[in-house]
Amino acid sequence: MPFAAAHIRLAVRESRLPVFYELLAAGFFVDAPQSCSIRQLLTDVSGMDAEYAEYRIQTVFVNGRAVDDFDSPLVGKDAVVALSAAMPGLVGAVLRRGSPLGSMRGVGADKGAPGTEMSREVPITLKLFNQVAAELGPGFLAAGIRIPTARLADFLAKHPDLAVEAVQAGGKNRPAADLPEVLAGAGEYICLFVKIAE
């Protein structure tokens, strides 16, 4: 995690875990081989079960455009990939992978371009919505998500009831009371770990 100068570790009651889905929806960074496919991102990089990815993730966006083909490559260094279950509404149906109503999108799918270089890793923004966040979110949060520090600061200010269990910065443990200071000095990005309190 090259951008994360500090780690924040939180422990929360299980019932409060969904409050963090707002951060998953806003997006976090994962490092993936440049030009890898969506399928590789989901399974090889993110560790998703292949069957889950195929059947649960019914709506996929790459750079804001609905995508039908899991095997299309991600291009560019700032790719944003958003994952959702099947959605309601005409637009929900239109945006689904392989939708028979796909032509109603008009703006088309993001087909990308054939990848050439698979060795270098680049940061990709991953967003998780709805049931996908509820089902995969706990795992990602436990493993740590890298997000803009300012976003985490805003989020924690909005949720003062969330108890900070431990703060690590510069490889050293710090008292929870140091959180404002750690956030102020954390740089642009920070790594957040959330686990269920025992």
């Binding site: 707002e22 929806a25 806003a26 309601p88 239109v94 945006l95 032509s103 008009g106 919505f129 709805n130």
Partner: protein, 578 residues
């Protein structure tokens, strides 16, 4: 359910009620019945608030039965907002109760000589109509409390708030829910203004002593209903997504697609989307002691609604729907769910369409009446409507009027009705439906039924541009048919994906009514309804030039994808070629 109740509010000597058989309208329900009556009996060029217009309130073909999801009620008239035919439908208890009282429709006719404030009571003993000026200018919440005091808590109410009494273009008709709160609304097209013009403040229904409507073939009906419910529960949208997060689950997804109209349709992404998403809304409700999963009427198995409470756990409103969260939220730059819930409550209380009001406030913000993002200012502006001030009456007349009064060019309306929460530049096919629907801009006019299942117009090639027009046509036809059944449109997703669930719906209709309908017959019904509506609008003066999106959709590139609406006029004109 074979009787039409007609109430002439302009009869000499006071309102007169009479019941008559369905006659030529037999076989129709919901939108099919409201549009058939309006098309046959209302002069297309009449004034929508005049004595010649009629307000038709009709449950669906399966309402009042044990059929799951059959609780939609249709309200039809000539619209004071669009000037064309209107069907606006709602959840709540009224469809089931009215059907069990054996009424296929209530038709309010004529017009009282002077402004009056009447309440109509309907139960198994009959009908009573009386003037009650003490109800004048009450909000829907206070009104229902008064009616509850008078008639007990077993009633169901159909009512208008202040907006309906002021005959404003955004006025809705409120329907009470299972908790006897006026939270469900036939919102679109100003149907509440027509009820106000008839001098009717409330219709109080009481089905005590009635029974469920019985099917012609009870066993086949029961089996079909079980298969239908099974299909709904097993589907990822109707069995999981909607119950967990409600319709507002769409916020994050539409925002990600760049199709979330923000700051009065200026751009397609709202920075605060995740703060007002369905996921955040559900977590907020649950953690405060509200409900994230709740039905709007008995017999609902999807339960996409909920209860929004404040930080102390006190009831504020029902869970605001996606369209409401968008219109009062991202469209106005507001990312505060508490403020949005307050606005939803005010709309329900004053009796206002939340889409039209949010769009009107967005246009007002563009005009400089308030800053985008200023939630308190938005609350104050909606408050003006409740007070009946001049500014409030302008706002309550809808986005089109606000644009004209304040000289705003970017006004997102078709046939003067505000657009819902999907920008037609980012999802071009929905622009076809917005432009050509008989109802004005309406996201539910062309919902989602598998066109190939219904076999409407042959198989569509989704890769061809013309597919957008053909799909829109097919979806509008299919939606009109579903609206006639009284079924919630959200059943569409299970039907879209599961052929056996679609068949179960047809089996239910057949078993209940003793019919032998096929998918083709359902399609024919949808076409018949659309044909009647289209003909009414043509006679009312609508032409091809009215089947267009506002000019700015073709001229202003819409970020983040920087696209304009590209479906040609010729393609739009071909939608009704059937």
């Amino acid at each position: 359910m074979d009787t039409i109740l007609r109430i002439n509010m302009g009869a000499a000597g006071g309102p007169q009620a009479r019941s008559e058989p369905l006659g030529d309208y037999a076989g129709m329900g919901g939108r099919g019945l409201t549009s058939a009556i309006i098309a046959a009996e209302v002069p297309p060029r009449c004034h929508p608030l005049g004595e010649d217009n009629k307000l038709v309130i009709a449950p669906g073909m399966l309402s009042g039965t044990k059929a799951a999801m059959s609780g939609r009620i249709s309200v039809g008239c000539k619209s004071p907002l669009t000037g064309g035919i209107k069907e606006s439908n709602s959840g709540g208890q009224a469809a089931q109760v009215l059907a069990r009282l054996s009424y296929a429709a209530i038709v309010l006719e004529g017009k009282p000589k002077e402004n009056t404030c009447c309440k109509i009571r309907i139960n198994t003993d009959g009908i009573s109509i009386e003037t009650d000026e003490s109800l004048h200018m009450l909000g829907n919440y206070d009104l229902v409390e008064r009616l509850k005091e008078a008639y007990g808590d077993k009633i169901t109410c159909i009512s208008i708030g202040q907006a309906g009494e002021m005959k404003l273009g955004a006025a809705s008709v409120a329907i009470t829910d299972m908790e006897l709160r006026p939270t469900r609304h036939a919102g679109r097209g100003g149907v509440g203004a027509v009820m106000g013009a008839k001098g009717v403040k409330a219709i109080v229904l009481d089905d005590s002593g009635t029974k469920m409507r019985e099917a012609v073939d009870p066993q086949a009906f029961k089996e079909a209903n079980q298969a239908f419910v099974k299909g709904l529960r097993e589907h990822a949208v109707t069995g999981q997504g909607l119950p967990a997060y409600g319709t507002n689950v769409l916020t994050n997804v539409v925002n990600e697609a760049g199709g979330y109209p923000t700051h009065n349709f200026s751009f397609g992404r709202f920075e605060g989307a995740s703060r007002i998403s369905g996921e955040t809304q559900a977590e907020t409700e649950t953690s405060r002691g509200g409900k994230a999963t709740h039905g709007c009427h008995r017999g609902c198995v999807i339960r996409c609604s909920g209860t929004y409470v404040d930080k102390e756990g006190n009831y504020v409103s029902k869970q605001p729907e996606y369209e409401t969260v968008w219109s009062h939220g991202g469209n106005c730059g507001i990312d505060d769910l508490d403020a949005i819930a307050r606005l939803d409550r005010m709309d329900d209380d004053f009796g206002l369409d939340t889409i039209e009001m949010g769009a009107a406030i967005g246009v007002a913000m563009e005009a400089g009446l308030a800053d985008f993002g200023d939630a308190e200012a938005a609350i104050n502006l909606v408050g003006e409507v409740g007070k009946g001030t001049t500014l409030g009456r302008i706002l309550g007349s809808g986005a089109g009027v606000v644009g004209r009064v304040f000289g705003v060019e970017r006004v997102p309306v078709v046939k003067n009705q505000a657009m819902p929460a999907y920008d037609p530049r980012a999802v071009q096919g929905i622009g076809v439906t917005y432009a050509t629907s008989t109802m004005g801009a309406d996201h539910t006019a062309g919902y989602a039924i598998a066109s190939n299942l219904l076999n409407v117009g042959g198989t569509v090639d989704p890769l061809k541009p013309a597919g957008q027009v053909e799909l829109s046509r097919n979806l509008q036809v299919a939606t009109a048919a579903i609206d006639a059944t009284g079924m919630c449109l959200f059943i569409a997703f299970a039907i879209l994906d599961q052929e056996e669930t679609f068949q179960a719906l047809i089996d239910m209709i057949n078993a209940f009514h003793g019919l032998n309908l096929t998918a083709d017959d359902v399609t024919a019904l949808g076409r018949k309804i659309l044909g009647m509506e289209r003909e009414f609008n043509e006679k009312a003066g609508f032409g091809k030039e009215d089947d267009r999106l506002p000019e700015f959709f073709r001229k202003e590139a819409f970020p983040p994808h920087n696209v304009t609406f590209a479906v040609s006029d010729e393609e739009l004109d071909s939608v009704y070629d059937f």
